[in-house]
Symmetry: C2
Subunit: 447 residues, 2 copies
């Protein structure tokens, strides 16, 4: 029987499990599926832990999640096409759910699908190689519950381990003698640690914007954001400043490229993440920066040099859960022989084509459309339920407009679901005043 290994049980890996299960539900014979998950529960990044660095088994902590996180994009941009928010919660909810609400939603679909027994938890994959002679992948796995390592053969491997877990951590002069905490966003957990502190953030990514906003919301004294190329340029609160790149720190004084200086108590490096697959043999390893169309992946999924290997969710992302779904349904149909792949040369040329298109995208709006179109193309190849991508694009466009209007109030807006057509209700409390991020609080209809 064909055997498929899925690495990771986060949104991408779970999408893959759901894809196979949905085929089975419709009467198809599906392969044997084994999903290896390093953590003790599913949900990937949405599975919060207080741990940082290494976990109870000495494994790098996967979690980059922090307390009080609310979605930084509208839920209307990520809704599963086969499982609406309304179906899960039994009523319309507001557009920027906190972590616990999104975790509940992700879990709801896979609980309903009944795929949990396909997952081996506490099971990091150590080593994946391909045996050319036998035409199989050798997958070596650590079972932490039994404290044993074992190797099994698989016909297909689908890597769904994410790319927001291994921090990219640059050095700056003086960090080795800084009198306070230096951390990467990956290790950020509770904004209250920084109450009444002057914090310095390096970077202009979503992490920078959101962790700064969190610290501001929970009472830090000031936020200074240092950029390499350009400031984010939002209308920030009075105690928030954007400055050029950090040049050095001496004790608690930071000096920037323009010579300006600032007292800082803590430094948070919001400097992005690495695509990191230490468990993949060199000839199977995706090596890419964070972009919409990574190298070597046909249709953004299939490893061109060995199409029995696939990667999910390795793109820079506007679209997330629903794009992972489209990829997972596509990967499933490749495995099940429902989709024929062209020659390696043709795949390579196709990848090159789309990378060139990406390179010529004018702005973020074009990038959103590009990824929406990509998702649509994939959806058209499988039985993943269609949804109105232009409506989701629209939610993203509105989101960007609302952020520009006011970066501290954009989460108070609501958008229209591309699935149900329902307009999201306003949340009962403005984001900046809603200090309780629990599911119970968020789902209250009245404040």
């Amino acid at each position: 029987m064909t055997r498929v290994a899925i690495i990771g049980a986060g949104p991408s890996g779970l999408a893959q499990l759901r894809a196979f299960q949905s085929a089975k539900e419709k009467g198809a014979d599906i392969p044997e599926i084994v999903c290896f998950e390093k953590q003790s529960n599913w949900g990937g990044l949405w599975n919060y832990t207080w741990r940082t660095g290494l976990d109870e088994y000495g494994e790098p902590v996967h979690c980059s999640m922090y307390r009080y996180l609310w979605s930084n994009g509208p839920k209307e941009g990520l809704e599963f096409a086969d499982y609406s928010f309304e179906e899960h919660f039994g009523k319309p909810i507001a557009s920027y759910p906190p972590r616990a609400v999104l975790f509940d939603y992700i879990e709801g679909r896979v609980k309903k699908a009944g795929v949990r027994d396909m997952i081996r938890f506490n099971s990091p994959v150590r080593h994946v190689t391909y045996d050319d002679e036998e035409g199989v992948f050798r997958v070596t796995v650590k079972d932490h519950e039994k404290d044993e390592e074992y190797t099994e053969d698989f016909d297909y491997v689908i890597v769904a381990s994410g790319h927001f877990s291994t921090p990219n951590v640059p050095d700056f002069e003086g960090l080795d003698a800084f009198n306070g905490r230096v951390l990467h966003a990956h290790d950020f957990r509770d904004a209250l640690e920084f109450k009444d502190k002057d914090i310095l953030i390096i970077g202009t990514s979503y992490s920078a914007e959101d962790i700064g906003s969190q610290c501001w919301k929970y009472g830090c004294k000031s936020v200074t954001v240092s950029h390499r190329t350009a400031p984010m340029g939002y209308k920030w609160p009075d105690n928030w400043e954007e400055v050029p790149l950090l040049q050095k720190v001496e004790k608690n004084t930071a000096t920037f490229k323009d010579g300006s200086q600032k007292h800082v108590d803590a430094i948070i490096l919001c400097t992005g993440y690495l695509h990191h697959f230490p468990f993949m043999a060199e000839d199977l390893k995706l090596k890419t920066n964070n972009r919409l169309y990574p190298v070597n992946l046909y249709n953004g999924v299939v490893w061109e040099y060995n199409p029995k290997l696939m990667y999910l969710g390795m793109q820079d992302q506007w679209y997330t859960f629903n794009m992972f779904d489209a990829q997972a349904w596509y990967a499933r149909d490749v495995v099940m022989g429902r989709i024929d792949l062209p020659s390696q040369e043709e795949m390579h040329a196709d990848i090159d084509h789309w990378r060139e298109v990406e390179d010529n995208l004018e702005d973020d709006y074009a990038a959103i459309r590009f990824q929406g179109d990509y998702t649509m193309r994939l959806m058209a190849l499988t039985d993943y339920p269609d949804f109105d991508v232009s409506e989701s694009n629209e939610a993203f466009f509105q989101w960007k407009k609302h952020k520009k209007e006011n970066i501290m109030t954009f989460r108070n807006h609501g958008y229209k679901s591309a699935l149900t057509g329902t307009m999201a209700p306003e949340h009962h409390t403005p984001w900046k005043d809603a200090l309780d991020d629990s599911l119970e609080s968020y789902l209250q209809t009245e404040s």
Copy 2:
């Protein structure tokens, strides 16, 4: 030619390089040696970095070192028998050197020996297996400089990667909602982060004692140390308290097993380390707790099931650098055929014998003598220079007495070198007032 892989270039790995180089110096033909080091420099734990969690290549950070660390035991207990402190510094120095001074000393010997070109830096070992048919080890290594993985064969493997780098991190109720930083000692870097804070330390190990003392020295508001079995029982300062095991935290309130409560701003888990060798195949992997005589290692070094595999420094440690030396000289002589090993059954029986002796040791004084005797037995088997172990034992006994007298002044004492017979001078400034931990400051003759 015989090929030997050494994993790690910390005190143990460097001892191994020095052992081979010293044989060569005396005219022997030595095997080809390759030392793989994950970090970009040698020194192991003594190579300080501000980094925590994962490093610039996504590798777990090896460093558990923190700023302002002074040796917590007398240097007279760890002096290299072939390279005295007096030879290195050109004069007698005080007994509890800060990190930079010890790093300089460690580096001095290997610089003089000229062994650096045997080391491949930025090269974590990914996978070690043994090929029974060919009788060689397959060692797979990541070269981060070239971003390539490669595999080479070796006749011997010597694991010297340490066991104070992978934290043992237990969970406690409420940590996931604690309003402040929770960290393991492994991630502790600068005590000034905790100035004016109420800190809670879990554990009674050296880390607990020393990190608490550091935080006290650098101005934390209070230290609370929570123990599982028994308090450390030193005469602590007024703002230092020992309490039973932590039961739970709610927001910033910690509750202990006796029902007492305390406000805490940060929680530091000083809960020890794991022997962790994810890169070793299951049948080659040492699995032990932290004890004086680990399982499966003949003479504390030789893997009984395959004597071409050796482990250095895997003991719980009173003795350190000089014990690693004795082990490295012994391992060298096993590799070079100067020492014959008994049968596996005899090795196993011998290991069992010493483990039983260990199990019946009465107290710390007996444990120190046990490890001193072990080191002497090894030394007698090789040409490692003899030193007067009873003198080193004596330094440890005095040290324990001085700690008991006053835990905040013990580092002001000096001891006699077992090598040179010189009595260490007093340091120019009492430890608690010496805030500058630089090499320059420490070596000043007058304050």
